[in-house]
Structure formats: structure tokens, C-alpha cells
Amino acid sequence: MTDMSNMEPTKPERSQWVDVWDQFKHHKGALLGGIIFIVIVVGVFLGPLVWPYDAQFIDIRARNQGPSWAHPFGTDQLGRDTLARMMAGGQTSIAVGLTAMLLALGLGSLVGITAGFFKRLDGPLMRITDLFLALPILPLLLVMMLLFREPLSGAVGPERGIFILIVVAIGVTSWMPTARIVRGDVLALKEREFILAARSIGTSNTNMIKRHILPNVLSPIMVSATLGIANAIITESALSFLGLGFPPDFPTWGRLLNDATQYLQDYPERVFWPGLAISLTVLSVNYLGDGLRDALDPRIRGR
């Protein structure tokens, strides 16, 4: 029998993450997306250390300027430097986008997996999903602000309090599609034989979900993640627009885009930057997600 076992050439041991990285590197889109995303994140978080202007500093004489050496992205109607505002806004937008997306994803996956896995909970959980889909978002947000803003501000400070609130608000109102998609996949997955096999070797429910269900529903979750980050960034701007968001002097990409829409005709370059930043982020995350999904799937990785 030894002859057969040697048919496959022996390869050195490799770790899963090396594998994932290996595959990832080969995905051109993912690599490009990753690089762009890192450039954006680094630019946004480290840029302000280098850039001399403060995002909130008003230089009223320099208002409504086009791009120049002093202000490469121009200035806004109060003479604030657009580049500085883009960087400050990016910090908030990316932070909100990522955390809110993660929260929505977490909630959605949790509900979806539980509903799909435990038949008894399916009905109730899906009705709750219906309920959340049906709830009018604006009053819900108002109630959340009413109930939690002051206690949170007291506990963690006003800015972080608002941040938490916004993230939670977006997360709580956008997990439902993920839950539905994941549930559908889990329902199908549950009928697969390897789940039965896992049960026969004594795998408990928690381990079953952790080891067998979750890794196999990763791909729809990844898609939700990409759509979710765009959704979170845009929703944040809608919240600010309604006065439910960050303090008004706190720039975010969504708000910059929203504010600039007014000046679409006069200063078209002003809408360009936030629009570009949001699109680039979303696109890079999309490709990143594509690549990661391909990389995490050993079936594709083998090819």
C-alpha cells in the first residue's frame, strides 16, 4: 500500500493564513482594493498629523476657493480646508462604516444562524425580523436618542456617546437582510451530510455552529459586508442631515457630500472629493471582500 500514499508529492506544512494570504495575493482586484483601502485609512488617520490645517479652522477670507497649492482640494463656503475636512470626515465615516457594518453583520449572522439552525426559534426570530423591517426608522432613532444620549454622554463622553449611538442605530436598523440571507443558507446547509457526520462524532451545538456552519456561510456574509459599509456611510449622512448625528462641526464624508450638493453648479469639485472617497472606499471594500471570500474558500484556493 505504500506505493499509493506516495503518489501525492509531499509538500511542506503550511498554515491556513499563509494559504489565505497566498491566494489573496493572486487576486488582482483584492490586492488593489486592499492597497487603496489601506492608503485611504492611513491617509485619513495619519494625514492630519502632517497637514497643517485644522478641519474646523475657518479662514473666511479664503472661502469658496478652488484647488490651489495651499488648499489642494479647495475650501468650503466658510473657508475651511477641504483636504483637512476630508481627512477628519474620513476618520468618522470609516470608523462608523466599519463598526456599524460589523454590528449589523454580527446581529444579522447571529439571528440568521440561530433561526436557521434551531427550528424552534425560526418562526419567532423571523417574525422579529419582519417587525424590524416594518419599524419606521426615524421614530426609532428618535427614541434611541431620547433614551440613551444623555446616559451615554455621561458615561463615555459626548462624542464617543454619539458615536456609539449612531453605530448602534445603524446596526440595529440594517441587520435584517443579512439575517434573511444567512438563514436561508443555514437551512440548506443543515441538510448537508457533514453536519450529520459532525453530530455523530459528538459535536455540540455551539461547536457545530462555530466549526461547521459559520465558515460555510461566510460568502453571503461577505457580500453583506460590502453592501453594509456603503449603507452605513450613507445612513450616517442621512442622520446628520436630520440632526440625529454628530455635532454639526464634525465633518463626515456623507455630510460633506450632502452639504456640497447645494453647490453642485457653482463648485462642482466640492462634491467630487467626498463622492470619490465614498465610492473608492466602497469599491475597495467590495474587491477586498471578493478576494477574501475567494481566499477563505479552500475549494477556490486549491485552484
Partner: protein, 335 residues
């Protein structure tokens, strides 16, 4: 399947009642006041009297009960009266808006056509564009077309309508002067010219909205097609000598449509819910505008009624989606 449907329908009743209660409590709890839009010049005593006249003096549970009766008992009677000329509802109090003091349902009925025209049409257009894009992108995965499609749809998804709306207005109405951008809801289509006008005034809001739909549905379609293109039965179909068109558009598509159709069905309630921002940008004044206006004015009867109708549609379309799933996929049997 029929019994499944009936069972779900019966189950939907307590669900909906519960949802309506939660919505009511939420609206009760939410800060805000129907008097917020009254000018500051009106003294507080007068505002207080106005509040009382709206019935705000009564305790919450009585108002909820009244709403339940009005919505589930009286409004259906109105509907029957309307169609059969009976007079069941005469003299009974309907769900009345606090803003304009007219029955909420009348306004809904008045606005449904323009909402359906614009939002519904955009959904149809969006889906019609999305499907071919999704199909072709998957068929030629990682081709130029696929890359471009991904790029454009993702940009479309990440740019919100509050931006695309004004953008197309500036380009097509202001600069080029091709289309009117204030939607004329009084416009009556009765001949070719008026039909053309209707098309011209719809084209911009429809396109703006369709962009979002297209982005989402085409992604789903692509993913689903990719799943199915590698299945064995595709090879079987090819081995029969069927043309690529038949293989892809009949065999693969039929299977790929199963999840997509449910996604599409789940998106349908949103049509009736209107499109808040786009409706505002183009002054369409559909249901979305009605809802947002009511929320801003704290017009609780309107908000309650509209959100409940929306909830109803969501529950209903979820049911439809499940049933469709069963119909499209013969392997699934609910009974």
C-alpha cells in the same frame, strides 16, 4: 402549499397586531409634537387647545384601540361602500390625519398612482437592467464587461440619491433642458403627447432610483448564476447540443432565479413605501413624501397607518417569497 399558505396567513394576524402595537408604542415614546410646525408666534395655550382637539388628551391605550377599530373595522366598510354604494361607514370616524384633517386612506389612494408610476417603474426598470447585467457578468466572469459592471453598479450603490438626483437635474434639466424636474401629479395621460410628457417627467426619478435597484439585484443575480453555471446539469444540457443561449437563459437562469426572485419579491413592499429622498428631490409627492412629511409633523395617525400598511406588505410579501420559492423549486415542499 395551500395549507402552508393558509397556516402562514393565520399566523400573520397575531404577528401584525403585535407589530402594530410596537409601532404605536414606539411612536408614543418618540419625542416630538404635532405642534412643532406651528409658528412660534402661536401662544402655548392655543397650542395646548389644538393638541386636545387632536385627541391627545386621551390615554394611549384608548387611542390605540380607536385606531384599531378605525383601521380594521371602519376603513374596510368605507372600501365596501365605495365599491358597492352601500352606507355601512356613514357617520363613523375614520383614521384622520392631524396635518390636513382628511382621512389618511383617501390620501394614500390619491398618491398611490404617482408612487407606483415612479417607484414601481424604477423597480421594474432596475430589475430589467440588473438581470442581463448579472447574467452576462457571471457568464463572462472577470471579463471586461464584468469588471465594468461591478465598477459601475458599486459606484451606483455608494452614491446616494440625494446626490444623483440634483446631479441629473443640473445636467438634464438645467443645462440641457431636456426634461422637466418638478413632477406634475395633475398630469393626465390621454393621448400620445401627454404620454410622452409623462415619460419625460418620469425618466429622471426613475433612473435615479433604478440605479440602486440595479446595483443590488445584479450582484445577487451574478452570484446566483455563478453558483449554478458550474453545476453538472449545465454540462448535461450542453451535451444535448443545446445552444449556449438556451443553456444559459433556460437551464441556468431558471435555477438562478430561485433566490433572486425571492429577493425581488422582498424588495416589492418598498415600492409602496415610496422613495423618500428621490420623491422629495423631484417633488413627486408620493407615499414616501407623505410618510416623511407625517413623521416630521408628528402626524401620528398617518405615520401609524402608513407604517402598519408597510408592515402588512412586508409580512405579505415575505409569505409570497416563501411560496414562490416553493413553486419555483420543486424540491421544496412545505407540506
Amino acid at each position: 402549499m395551500l395549507t402552508f399558505t393558509i397556516r402562514r396567513l393565520i399566523l400573520a394576524i397575531p404577528t401584525l397586531l403585535f407589530i402594530s402595537l410596537v409601532i404605536f408604542l414606539l411612536l408614543e415614546l418618540a419625542p416630538g409634537d404635532p405642534m412643532a410646525q406651528v409658528p412660534l408666534t402661536v401662544p402655548p395655550e392655543v397650542k395646548e387647545k389644538m393638541r386636545l382637539a387632536l385627541g391627545l388628551g386621551e390615554p394611549g391605550y384608548i387611542r390605540f384601540w380607536k385606531w384599531l377599530v378605525q383601521f380594521f373595522w371602519i376603513e374596510p366598510q368605507v372600501l365596501i361602500d365605495h365599491y358597492f354604494g352601500t352606507t355601512f361607514s356613514e357617520g363613523k370616524l375614520r383614521v384622520i390625519s392631524w396635518q390636513h384633517r382628511a382621512p389618511v386612506m383617501d390620501v394614500v389612494v390619491q398618491r398611490l398612482p404617482q408612487t407606483l408610476w415612479v417607484v414601481g417603474m424604477s423597480y421594474v426598470v432596475g430589475v430589467l437592467i440588473a438581470l442581463p447585467i448579472g447574467i452576462y457578468s457571471a457568464y463572462r466572469q472577470y471579463s471586461m464587461f464584468d469588471q465594468a459592471g461591478t465598477f459601475i453598479t458599486m459606484i451606483g450603490y455608494s452614491i446616494p440619491p440625494f446626490f444623483t438626483g440634483p446631479l441629473v437635474i443640473v445636467i438634464f434639466s438645467v443645462q440641457l433642458g431636456w426634461f422637466p424636474f418638478i413632477y406634475d401629479t395633475t398630469h393626465v395621460v390621454n393621448d400620445w403627447d401627454s404620454f410622452i410628457y409623462q415619460l419625460r417627467q418620469m425618466i429622471m426619478p426613475v433612473m435615479v432610483l433604478a440605479l440602486q435597484t440595479t446595483a443590488q439585484i445584479s450582484r445577487y443575480m451574478r452570484a446566483s448564476m455563478l453558483d449554478n453555471l458550474n453545476q453538472d446539469y449545465v454540462r448535461t444540457a450542453r451535451a444535448k447540443g443545446l445552444s449556449e443561449r438556451v443553456v444559459v437563459l433556460v437551464h441556468v437562469l431558471r435555477n438562478s432565479m430561485i433566490p433572486v426572485v425571492t429577493v425581488i419579491a422582498l424588495g416589492l413592499p418598498a415600492i409602496f413605501g415610496g422613495a423618500i429622498i428621490t420623491e422629495q428631490v423631484f417633488s413627486v409627492n408620493g407615499i414616501g413624501a407623505q410618510l416623511i412629511g407625517a413623521i416630521q409633523a408628528n402626524d401620528l395617525p398617518t405615520v401609524q397607518t402608513l407604517t402598519f400598511m408597510f408592515a402588512f406588505l412586508i409580512v405579505f410579501f415575505n409569505l409570497i417569497a416563501d411560496v414562490l420559492y416553493g413553486i419555483l423549486d420543486p424540491r421544496i415542499r412545505y407540506d
